[in-house]
Amino acid sequence: MMDVLKPRDAQDVAAAVQWALGQSKTLDVVGAGSKRDLGRPTQTDATLDLSGLIGVTLYEAEELVLSARAGTPLAEIEALLASRNQELAFEPMDYGSLLGAPPGRGTIGGALATNLAGPRRFKAGAARDHFLGVTATSGRGEEFKSGGRVVKNVTGYDLCKLLAGSWGTLAVMTGVTVKTLPRAETEATLLVAGLDDARALEAMATALQSSCDLSGAAHLSRPVAARLPGELGLGQPMTAMRLEGVERSVTHRMTALQTLMRSWGPLLVLDPQQSRSLWTAIRDGIGFAESGPAGGRIVWRISTAPAQGARLGQLLAAKADVELAYDWGGGLVWAALAPAEDAGEAIVRAAVSVCGGHAMLVRAPAALRARVPVFEPQAGPLAALTARVKESFDPNRVLNPGRMWAGV
């Protein structure tokens, strides 16, 4: 039977990693396990279950800072912040519906380790941009810290950035400090109906270059838009633009945005409540929910230059049966492909090599994720550098070996 080790504190974590080093064992580093089906499936000797490292240890709203043990449920932190009218501005997405798991299960450590971000990414940043300080145990079994609890800090290398998005392959985070921000007083969303992908991305670029100060810009193709819950679903493609801020400002900017968009297509304004549900749905990829009509499809998440989004979509559509949704003004492309032998990898990577950016295979059967590179493959000096970075934290490859790339 595979061992599950459940540390009670940071010292337990260090003891577990030291044991693994001494016994030449490997560890699967897990928070609540909500993202276990993401990345390459790994075969490890034991699971390091961090769900016992819980609790907010510091929250000072006026200083815009919160510290918590890494296994603290994200939902608990978001509720606490909401009680002071604050939030994690990077709008961490919830992979639950995409992966066919219950929603709201993630931990703060997991959110940071996978560098989550939501629709506000282009304005407010990703998890990496809000990650101020960390204590962690490296794959060498050594406890170290980086950063601090203040928002402005350049003392030493910014290891938080490196740990954000490292998928637990470098170090086990035990305590984290993040920046918190005030929630917008209100929000509203303008919908433009019926645009094809290329026109929609042009419309978003136009709005993003205006002074309207968007905090969301997404386009859902027809089948995806049709799956939105309740009254949100339009029978046609939908381009959504969100404004947030103080009431007077949102009103003022909405007027300007409507004027700007009038000639593009029929417009519809969503009230704050509808707007919130829409953006949660977009954030969590509801249109591609495992339990929905696209449940059998393979899902790729592609980051590209926003102005290349439509072209990327066209390249995919020319070669495959694909459903598309665009976020970040076109810079984030969600592509749901009909099942294929290689998960559509060849087509996706070819399109990305033309348009720039990188693609991650988000949803596919485990056997496929074991066979097909899940993360963008690296080559040459960059691949060698990545391997040396791994080596500098985890020379014996104890932590999540192979989760990102074979050998790392």
Binding site: N85, R140, K152, T155, L159, L162, G165, G356, L382
Partner: protein, 495 residues
């Protein structure tokens, strides 16, 4: 300040090295005469001076790669340099090293409004980026006070900030990608015009790495649409405690101003005498709070900030009525360093960050230190994010005063760490705070950082002597120590 030991073997071969470098970078790109190298002997931290062995000014990535490959093969140290405005000695040359000046990398390669990015060479000045996109109503958000002179390459290396970084972030939040040459001469590309890295966020590590990981040869920065309008409020307080409380209340009310700066009495007086900005003189602390965005939003928030200020016992409150007046409010703050320079022969600029609530304690302790060192201190403060710039006034011509100022400065930084803050908010560690790193980090913390350095620069040739108080060989650092004593492990809950 102890710098790495000079390599006599390299110095003995100086002529040969210079000739080899000339073969890579022709003409005036290699400077070897003492007189011509003089301008490079220090950066903005002028207390430290050192002539390099030779200055090289490459103008292509290819040349940078060849220079680095050659130096790697020969074991020659290299110090990259932008405009030399670092306030921590990051660009201080080494006597047996090559100073690699990036000034010729001064082209803006591409402006791409559709993707809202600009692709620039590292020697382009910070301000030049904003100027290049101004015609379309765009700008580059990080705005260090040195922006006329400092380069984007230097900004990346130091992760520079500015008065607007509370709302718009530091350099690291505003860059998307770069081309970088490793010490081996290998060229890597990180990021691009898209958001977030695939794989490890190496761009995030390179930003703020103080020129120790690689030489950056191209950068993709984000450009933002300029806010429709901006207005500032000038608020005077009878005590810095009241000013600190006011800052907390503004943020507590959910307002993130575009800029929020504080000055103490000595700084206010010096600035007012210098630029006549209309600052109140009878106050102990002055806040400048700037709101930006659409007119309707700005007017609304200005009203709210004024009300909060009055609740916090402000003695004067004045909102700018025109763009001219807003600029005047800022003129005093922006000239604060030179203004202090007029009332003292020399000044030494510090850069710690503290949790904002600790401000009264830190200021009180600073007053005690000021008395015991017999040196005045003026405070300029990025109030929103707790970044303090105490300016210690001294006279370098008085024997012992520089040393006293440095000792005073070190005490202030230790105090910042003691109250939960950090040694440097935006100026970097460099040589200046190198030996204080142990007040913030354990040896294990520092060893892990140095291992990362080894992943980029296995021989430790790129900008050595900066950031880390002690240098270890990479081979030594790489050893894994398996600790005995599994008592705790045996006790670990398992399933």
């Amino acid at each position: 300040m102890q710098m790495p030991e000079l390599d006599a073997g390299i110095l003995a071969r100086r002529d040969e090295v210079v000739a080899a470098l000339r073969a890579i970078v022709p003409g005036e790109g290699v400077i070897a005469s003492e007189r011509a190298m003089k301008p490079y002997e220090s950066d903005g931290l002028t207390a430290y001076r050192q002539l390099p062995m030779v200055v090289v000014l490459p103008d292509s990535t290819e040349q940078v790669a060849r220079v680095l490959r050659y130096c790697h093969q020969q074991g020659i140290k290299v110090v990259p340099r932008g405009a030399g405005t670092s306030l921590s000695g990051g660009a201080l040359p080494l006597g047996d090293g090559v100073l690699l000046g990036m000034a010729k990398f001064n082209r803006i390669r591409e402006i791409d409004f559709n993707n809202r990015v600009a692709v620039v060479e590292p020697g382009v000045t910070n301000l030049a980026v904003s100027q290049a996109v101004e015609h379309a109503g765009f700008y580059y958000a990080p705005d260090p006070s040195s922006q006329i002179a400092c380069t984007i390459g230097g900004n990346i290396a130091e992760n520079s900030g500015g008065v607007h970084c509370l709302k718009y972030g530091m350099t690291t939040n505003n860059v998307l990608g770069c081309e970088m040459v490793l010490m081996t001469g290998e060229i890597v590309r990180l990021g691009g015009k898209h958001l977030d890295a695939s794989g490890y966020d190496l761009m995030g590590i390179v930003t703020g790495s103080e020129g120790l990981l690689g030489v950056v040869t191209e950068i993709t920065v984000r450009i933002l649409k300029k806010p429709e309008t901006a207005r500032a409020v000038l608020i005077g307080f009878a005590s810095s405690e009241d000013a600190g409380t006011c800052v907390g209340h503004i943020i507590g009310a959910g307002i993130i101003p575009g800029g929020m700066e504080m000055m103490d009495r000595l700084a206010i007086d010096a600035a007012e005498q210098f630029v006549h900005a209309g600052y109140p003189l009878e106050v102990e602390a002055l806040l400048i709070v700037e709101l930006d965005g659409p007119q309707a939003e700005v007017d609304d928030l200005i009203g709210r900030v004024e009300a909060i200020a009055r609740q916090c016992r402000a003695v004067t409150v004045k909102a700018s009525g025109s763009e001219q007046e807003r600029l005047l409010f800022w003129a005093g703050r922006k000239a604060a360093f030179p203004a202090v320079g007029r009332i003292s022969a020399d000044y030494y600029c510090m850069d710690g960050t503290i949790p904002r609530a600790q401000l009264p304690r830190v200021l009180a302790r600073m007053r005690e230190l000021s008395a015991s060192y017999g040196l005045r201190v003026a405070n300029v403060f990025h109030a929103g994010d707790g970044n303090l710039h105490p300016l210690i006034l001294y006279d370098a011509n008085q024997p012992g005063e520089l040393e006293r100022a440095e000792a005073f400065g070190a005490e202030i930084l230790k105090l910042c760490v003691e109250v939960g803050g950090v040694l440097t908010g935006e100026h970097g560690v460099g040589v200046e705070k190198r030996d204080l790193m142990e007040t913030m980090f354990t040896q294990t913390d520092l060893d892990q950082q140095q291992r990362l350095k080894c992943a980029f620069d296995d021989k430790g040739l790129l900008n050595p002597g900066k950031v880390f108080p002690t240098l270890h060989r990479c081979a030594e650092l790489g050893r894994v120590h398996v600790h005995g004593g599994h008592a705790r492990f045996n006790d670990l809950p398992r399933f």
